[in-house]
Subunit: 211 residues, 2 copies
């Protein structure tokens, strides 16, 4: 497998955690977003959406981090990243999608560039934007977990898809200076995850292309 | 099943198509977004994210349209909304996620309200925003399908998750005045879908809460 990603990309980070939990090795191809490496013709031939991550395997190119992770889970089922029960699977997927479909798209580099370049926003304006959407999204995540019994990970005794999405989002919140003190359960899950080598070794600062 | 949605919400529209393809009936509870019905305490008790859709069934509340649709597919497998082969499943999910994770979050009511109210954008500014993100997303979808053999639906001879996401997004593109002439394959799929009662009956204008 050849994995095209970037150390600081949240969606690349998700995939790295999943590879590590599954104990899968891969060749890493760094795609430096700040240099526009994702907008080259060569990269677009891999992924016409011009976004990382992209995963090459067996002549196929897989894109979109959640689709890649579900594919990994279906083709390498141990350990499972989703529970067996359909209702709990749905709750795990919904939690992951709060982050992947509602928070992350609004903090993407291309959107922040648009805010600055097209809408004339300065650092303070971009920060208000980020605080609003990351704050709302994490508050929803905290509320979703608060309905459930206490557990070390988002949905029980083992990490899975929800944790894979949460940890990179909490990392981004820190990076953007968003206060997460109001989300004690999310913070506790993050600590439990980061104590595991699969998560710790996937951290942006540990990647070969870290600045 | 009690389904909380809104006629014009893309994510509600996706769920309606899935219910219809599965021939499942449900009680519909309209949640008028323009009146803020999704921000009431009663609705937040159902979905702390304060977004439609929400589906009540057997004491559970399911949220996030893609998670709801995968749950429907797992609990009511016929007809399938995802192919059996893991690689093709990954491509279908990735296509759906281009729309659900990259396009739709940027055209959401709450984001457009923020552009107007917080960033002072007028109709022209909002329209430039929509044209950029919907255009980029649909171009990626067209490119993804162009790599595949011609077929009546996105991924073959029967409609599924990709088509369920595409048709509401094409409807939104029309509603926002986005030109889709550059996307002939997407337009052909839409026509094939809308010829089916499951899609036609899910259209916003056919819903009881249509304005």
């Amino acid at each position: 497998m050849r994995f095209h990603g970037f150390f600081r990309s949240s969606s690349s980070y998700r995939c790295r955690i999943a590879f590590n939990l599954k104990r899968l090795s891969y060749a890493f191809v760094s795609t430096p977003l700040r240099e526009g490496a994702h907008r080259t013709a060569a990269f677009r031939a891999l992924n016409p959406q011009a976004l990382v991550p992209a995963l090459e395997d067996g002549g196929e190119v897989f894109t979109q981090s959640l689709a890649i992770i579900e594919w990994l889970d279906e083709t390498h089922p141990t350990p499972p990243l989703l529970p067996a029960d359909p209702a709990t699977r749905a709750h795990v997927r919904a939690f992951a999608q709060v982050i992947a479909c509602e928070v992350h798209p609004l903090q993407n580099l291309r959107v922040l560039d648009y805010l600055r370049q097209e809408l004339g926003q300065d650092d303070a304006g971009v920060n208000r934007w980020l605080t609003r959407w990351i704050g709302e999204g994490l508050a929803a995540c905290e509320a979703l977990l608060s309905r459930r019994p206490e557990s070390p990970f988002c949905f029980g005794e083992a990490p899975g898809l929800a944790d894979i999405c949460l940890v990179p989002q909490m990392f981004s919140a820190d990076r953007f200076g968003i206060d997460t003190a109001a989300f004690p359960r999310l913070r506790a899950v993050r600590i439990a995850c980061e104590a595991l080598p699969a998560f710790a070794e996937a951290a942006p600062g540990r990647q070969p292309d870290a600045a």
